[in-house]
Amino acid sequence: MRALRPWLLLAPALGVLAVLLFWPLVRVVSLSFQEYGLRQINTGESNYTGLDNYREILGDSFLWTTVLPNTVLFAVSCVVLTVVVGTLVALLLQRLGKTWRVICSTVIMMAWAMPAVTGTYVWIWIFDPLNGVVSGGLDAVGAIEPRETNWFTDRWSFYAIATLNVVHHGFPFVAVTLYAALLTIPRELPEAALMDGANAWQRFWRITVPTIRPVFAVVTILSTIWDFKVFAQIYLMPGGSGANPDVLNLGVWSYIQSFSRNEYGMGSAIAVLLTLLLLAITVGYVKALAREGDQL
């Protein structure tokens, strides 16, 4: 009985996890091996087809030429930009006086607090080709002809706007976390370096970065996970829900297969692949981190 007690106490939490996380996970994996449509939903029967879904996805050139490059390139640029901008803002916060620091952090918190859907609509509105702020400004200086401009149809400009959106929404978390980490650096370290004649660039790379490296790792891993599975910010953009196949990423592709085409098996298989990809990246990060930890 005594041995059972910890499990009994854990049971509620484990139960919730099992129902909310584990069971859906098992279902998605099992669905990914089936051809599962409305008919199966209605009857509740299983319809296993082995690896067919995976074979079809991995054999589809669309995955390799469009969906995967879109997902990976987009995630990499977003993560790099988010961390760079977040770091710069954190350094700025550290230097500001109290009043300005409060003002600045309040403003960036507002960017963070904005729901992704609202934020996306704001960016669409800003870049509206006909009546948007940006096209209005560029039109005023004679740079573009609004009636002949549409940024949403081109893959690169589409993703440039999406990147702005995601970085704008993601950098406050990085900035706030890194600012907190910066406060933990003992004051003597940069002071001593300053005495030795190190400039700001050297102090940043030789002192700041090594001291708070684990925090950098955490924000990078989290940003990577978030930016890989971006959905709403792409799906809600004009043409992003499937009308423009050039801009699909893994998340949206999975959604279209499952819910627009009622091929739940195929959609699940794409979701499983996305999870595996994320898992591989995260494991890679954590391993690299552990190695560095050993060296220090």
């Binding site: 008919r39 829900s241 009308a243």
Partner: protein, 444 residues
């Protein structure tokens, strides 16, 4: 109700593990688990109970701006006729398809629900809808149903939905601008192009005719008007795409050339949905749009003075007459109700006679009964009659097969339109690609 008690049980369990002695804790835990289980049991019991105390009906929110009085009258009438209560739930169009799918998976479907015309073959093929054909036959209703709507719910002789109400798209134009420049609404394709070119000169700040790339319902009339079709039965029980055959190509070419060659549209419209196009009309930018009869109510609600500034004509045919337009709308489907007689009673009550007429009138749509539709047409309202004429004389249907739902979900035709409008592909290339994508789905 039962679900709420289940949730209460769960939170009780969470609270119990937080405080008190070990024994008390365990006792509370047991109690909470028991409550939870009981909740689950009663939840099941409630659903599968023997005699029906109420029939479940799901209808879409927002179609009828003030649905309250209608629903009350319907409930009273139904209860009086059958002695059974009617439980009405409003659901949102935007997530209705997912909602029904989820309810299907969870075995929580209502007895009767409003469904979009294109969903009938889909849910019908999945086996979730009852075939109403024998009952329609028995009651002698078939001859008086609006054909486009009736056909949309009928696959291989089985009818999965009873026509309830319908809408259709026609050409809406700025009557005030046309009058100012003494222009006449177009009656042929050439006139449509010429009047657009004239507007481009006369009103340089306006968009003469936005060609929006995000929806297919503006394009379909031109494919049909040129004598083509999106797909046709292949004679072996399946379908094949005909969107890349010469007639269809001619229609696509004309429609897209209005934007690409004649500059009657703007680049922004390449990614517009129908709602964006309506917005541009509402902002005073667009001069002519192809949009639905239901949008008139939206326009008038925002600003009653629109009544004097808009005109409506059926979509012009290539050389006169009309180009067919898609008849969209709603059917009432019986989701394998355990009380099929009551479900049918409710369906006929709503879709014929007094209740059908008042719903159509309140919502700004057209009734699904031909006789009621003709009554509307005879009233000769200039903002209603042209739509009614379009529907009864030039209404058309998209392929009635579950596969076409998947094709629409994949946005095959918007994809084609956007590729042409943005100059990424020629009409021929884009149409070939669209046909290939459709055939892949038809075959799969």
């Amino acid at each position: 109700m039962a679900h709420t008690s289940g949730r209460g049980g769960a939170s009780g369990r969470g609270g119990a593990s937080g405080r008190g002695g070990a024994r008390a804790r365990r006792r509370r835990l047991v109690a909470a688990v028991a409550a939870l289980t009981l909740g689950a049991v009663t939840a099941c019991g409630g659903d599968e109970g023997g005699e029906p105390d109420a029939l479940q009906l799901w209808i879409m929110d927002g179609t009828n701006p003030d649905a309250g009085p209608y629903v009350e009258a319907l409930q009273a009438e139904f209860e009086e006729r059958t002695g059974v209560a009617l439980d009405v739930q409003f659901i949102q169009w935007a997530d209705a398809h997912d909602r029904i799918t989820t309810a299907m998976a969870g075995g929580e479907l209502p007895d009767v629900a409003e469904i979009g015309t294109t969903w009938a073959p889909e849910f019908g093929a999945a086996g979730a809808l009852a075939d109403l054909a024998p009952r329609i036959e028995e009651d002698g209703l078939a001859d008086d149903l609006v054909p486009g709507l009736y056909d949309a719910g009928t696959v291989d002789g089985a009818t999965y939905g009873m026509p309830w109400y319908a809408g259709v798209r026609s050409l809406i134009y700025r009557a005030d601008v046309f009058a100012e420049h003494s222009l006449e609404p177009p009656t042929t394709w050439d006139e449509l192009r010429d009047v657009g070119l004239a507007l481009r000169e006369l009103e340089p700040d306006m968009i003469p005719f936005p060609v929006s790339g995000g929806g297919e319902y503006g394009l379909d009339p031109f494919i049909w008007g040129a004598g083509g079709d999106v797909a046709e039965p292949d004679g072996e029980g399946g379908w094949r795409s005909t969107v890349n055959e010469p007639e269809a190509i001619e229609g696509i070419e004309f429609y897209t050339s209005l934007a690409t060659e004649h500059g009657l549209s703007v680049a922004a419209a390449e990614t517009w949905l129908e709602t964006d196009q309506l917005e541009s009309f509402q902002n005073g930018e667009a001069a002519m749009v192809i949009n639905g009869n239901w949008t008139i109510a939206t326009l008038l609600e925002a600003d009653p003075s629109w009544a004097d500034r808009i005109g409506v004509v059926p979509i012009p045919g290539r050389d006169g007459g009309f180009s067919p337009s898609f008849v969209g709308g709603s059917l009432l489907g019986d989701f394998n109700s355990s009380e099929p007689d009551l479900a049918w009673e409710l369906i006929t009550l709503m879709s014929t006679g007094e209740f059908a007429a008042s719903w159509a009138e309140q919502s700004g749509y057209f009734p699904g009964q031909q006789s009621l539709l003709e009554e509307v047409q005879e009233r000769d309202d200039p903002l209603v009659a042209p739509f009614a004429q379009q529907m009864s004389e030039a209404g058309a249907n998209l392929p009635v097969t579950e596969k076409y739902g998947a094709i629409q979900g994949e946005q095959v035709l918007p994809r084609m339109l956007q590729a042409i409008l943005s100059g990424e592909a020629t009409v021929r290339e884009a149409a070939d690609e669209a046909a290939a994508a459709m055939d892949e789905t038809f075959a799969g």
